[in-house]
Amino acid sequence: MASIWEYANPKKFIETTDRLLPWFSALALLCLVVGLVWGFFFTPDDYKQGSTVKIIYLHVPSALMAINAWMMMLVASLIWIVRRHHVSALAARAAAPVGAMMTVIALATGAIWGQPMWGTWWAWDPRLTSFLILFLFYLGYMALWSAIENDDTAADLTSVLCIVGSVFAVLSRYAVNFWNQGLHQGASLSLDKEENVADVFYHPLLMSIAGFVLLFVALVFLRTQTEIRARRMRALVARERLQ
């Protein structure tokens, strides 16, 4: 059985993800199309929310991925700090724009849903506010990577930022439970079946979530490959200049 640390070798990582990428991409597309078409065309309106319930097939998966992308970045950053594997630092860097985009989708669809349901686009509710701060952390994280020329220093500093930002990723998830106030309702999905959304909404939602997860993995594979190549190119150019 191959050790997971073998994939810390950039060449091995690119070879493996090159083989996996078409499968993840195709499955992501399939799950997204099935989940969204099922949710949009073949589910009934909710008795309270009317047709706006169809927005959950975008809002819930994107919010879930916004938080989990940061958690993936946290794990990759910790691996960088402890083991100094460049691929893990570059994977964290690669995931940030994807997570940021997921946060934008969650915020935008939430605002569009909130206007007719709550009568406002935005409220300084604990979950919404912690989500906005998470988005700002994403921006800061990407800006920090771009601002520092030395890759290792950038990886060190962004890893620390990632650890600090994790507080807001956790708050985004549990803000409703912690403060028990504000407009945002509790989780749509739970291990407790009683708390879940009704089955008619639940199955297409699961399909859509699977699509978002697979898309995230596919994009992180592709973008990490790009970051590895860009790093090699910078190293070659620097060596050329020295000669």
């Binding site: 949009f40 935008a108 206007q115 898309l215 790009t226 190119m233």
Partner: protein
């Protein structure tokens, strides 16, 4: 074929339009940058090999 979205049609349709546009944009940018960097690395490696 199109479901009756009632008075919330604008909210539902704009949510889908915004999200799908952003997702397509993200995938497009990622693919284009991947191709560009791959091509530039190949050129750089060739140049370095040529110049010894």
């Amino acid at each position: 074929m199109m479901p009756d979205l009632g008075k919330y049609a604008q909210a539902v349709l704009s949510s889908y339009a915004v999200s799908i546009t952003l997702l397509v944009l993200l995938v497009g940018i990622s693919v284009l940058r991947a191709r560009k960097v791959r091509r530039e690395l190949a050129e750089t490696e060739q140049r370095v090999r040529r110049n010894g």
